[in-house]
Amino acid sequence: MTDKILKIRSLKVIFPTERGIVKAVEGIDFDVYKGECVAIVGESGCGKSVSSLAFMRLLQTPPAIVDTKVHEFDGVDIRNYSDKQMKNILGTKMTMIFQDALSALNPVIKVGKQIDEIYIKKLGYSKSEAKIASIEILRLVGVPSPEKRYNDYPHQLSGGMRQRALIGMSFASDPKLMIADEPTTALDVTIEAQILQLLKDLQKKNDMALVLITHDLSVVRRVADRVYVMYCGKIVEEGPTKDVFRNPKHPYTLGLINSMPKIGTEKQEFTQIPDNVPHPLHKPDGCYFRPRCSNTDVTICKNCMSPLVDLGGGQRVRCWNPLKNKVGGDK
């Protein structure tokens, strides 16, 4: 028995296009322990969403080509699992929720029926049993008047309600691992807080592992036990959330943390990371972050990329010149 629910070694995803091969994910290692909350954070295009799809082997070839050295779910090697075998795990033990609940739900089927689908098709319930269970799940995730909402169509629910329904649908089968891709990005801040709390509660309730994909560091800080920072398809830093936030080792991480607007007593300038994320087809030589890095007096950065170096305490960083400063709590 293992204490990891998901173990990924060297995940690579490429997308061949007419204009060149897009290297979306360039060999990442990823672990999720049972019951923990792990976040993958990064800007748009860094490969975090693609990675999450790859975790569930949902990427299709074409257009993607995927390769992994190790891909284990709950200790079982699923690298060569057939479509059918994957369908046994998906939706039951491993589930996923997406950012925009309106587009993630089938617009012409009632919400309740879409939840029923899990019970009937994956868990063997009868139609009437499923209906009862679906209403209960809706209640559990905090949807008021679940009996009425059961008969609604997705477009008739509010954003927060929809997201709850989506979460309910993914939670119905008691999954061991839930992957949430930007679950709160489309929601108002107050609703966001509620949804995050809901996810934490569900985690506790069933000892469920949660992988949170987001570009919002404040979300990470609130709920994640560990965090992986991704940039241009590579993991540049990983570690327990507290440590990474207090002592970021990679300049990019520091930049992300500093660009979070903070409420404080002094007025500060907005710090920005200069320039833009490189185009996926034209990644720089050497370290991908070098063009934007303020720490690049090291010529080696221009020629090759650093490997991920273990710094102890679960923290790893991909930098020839990792930061040594401590970031104060009030900055």
Partner: protein
């Protein structure tokens, strides 16, 4: 609230119908000193002048040509409501409505069969092509679509009639002239109709199949990249379930509209096909009416065809209303 849409569509349809009726009223009456003259049946050789004058007077009486235009219009509408479209010029001056209802089923045989075959085969192939995107079934479809759109149905009909009908003689190139009169719902006769209808239906269906297939293929491809299909896959549902319950229920929505519109287009287009095969449907009825300047019959058929088109549109809209829950809340997709 919910039925606002339905009421709107129905009242819209009635409005358009009135407009069409009015246009239908005016067309034969313009550009002529004595509009009534168009409605006088031709003077047959054996008729004396007095007899002919009497007929002319009767005709004027029937359509109200001696009265004011407004009254004429009212007479026209009144007749319409009781299903009276006037009298044809054919010998015996039969009622237009009667002629239409006699010939209509024969046109419908062709049109409805074509619609069924085109849509079913087309949708099936389109879904298949979408699944095998980029491979032979798909490229074949796209190539033939480019080619076939340039081949109007009646050209296909002529070629098929020539090759299969007359050269190879596998199926009749000309419809059996006694088919209509000999029809008595017996198995033998039904078979005969099928035999005769095969080439016309195939000619019309080929374009239709390709059309439905391309639309379905495109729609399925678009829907397949929608997020809820990803959700369905993440739920671990079987491929069959994803296809039928999720993909097709969404992808086929626009095809439904196409289906209903197709009916009206088919009936209009059947006119030409009927000539190729000498098929005695409403098309040939109309052509002959035209050759004989039989205005009551011509305008009657026109009104009939327009009404069918209107009904088809209305049905398509209502079907959409039933199938797409987003419409009832006032939103258009």
């Amino acid at each position: 609230m919910k039925f606002d849409y339905v009421i709107k569509r129905i009242s819209h349809t009635i409005l358009i119908f009135l407009a069409v009726v009015t246009i239908n009223f005016f067309i034969p009456r313009i550009g002529n000193d004595d509009p009534a003259s168009r409605y006088y049946p031709p003077q047959i050789g054996t008729m004396t002048d007095e007899e002919y004058d009497e007929i002319k007077a009767l005709t004027r009486e029937q359509y109200g040509f001696d009265k004011s235009p407004v009254e004429q219009y009212l007479i026209y509408v009144k007749n319409l409501l009781s299903g009276d479209l006037g009298n044809s010029f054919q010998p015996g001056r039969p009622k237009v409505m009667k002629l239409i209802t006699e010939r209509l089923p024969w046109t419908l045989v062709l049109s409805l069969s074509t619609m069924m075959i085109s849509s079913i085969v087309g949708i099936m192939y389109g879904t298949f092509a979408a699944k095998k995107r980029g491979r032979l079934p798909d490229t074949l479809l796209l190539a033939s679509s480019t080619l076939l759109t340039a081949l109007p149905a009646f050209i296909i009909a002529l070629i098929l009639s020539m090759i299969i009908g007359f050269e190879l003689e596998w199926l009749p190139g000309y419809a059996d002239p006694s088919m209509m009169t000999a029809f008595d719902w017996s198995f033998e006769q039904i078979l005969n109709v099928i035999r005769n209808a095969t080439l016309p239906v195939i000619s019309m269906s080929i374009g239709g199949i390709v059309g439905y297939a391309v639309s379905t293929r495109n729609s399925v491809i678009v829907v397949s990249s929608d997020d809820y299909i990803l959700t369905a896959r993440a739920k671990g549902l079987s491929n069959g379930r994803i296809l039928y319950r999720h993909t097709l229920t969404n992808a086929l929505l626009p095809i439904v509209t196409r289906f209903m519109m197709g009916l009206s287009a088919l009936i209009g287009g059947a006119v030409v096909i009927e000539k190729v095969f000498n098929w005695n449907g409403m098309g040939t009825l109309f052509i002959n009416a035209n050759l004989q300047n039989d205005y009551p019959l011509m305008m009657g058929v026109m009104l009939f065809l327009s009404s069918i088109a209107l009904l088809a549109n209305l049905t398509a809209d209502l079907l959409y209303f039933v199938l797409d829950p987003r419409i009832m809340d006032g939103g258009r997709r």
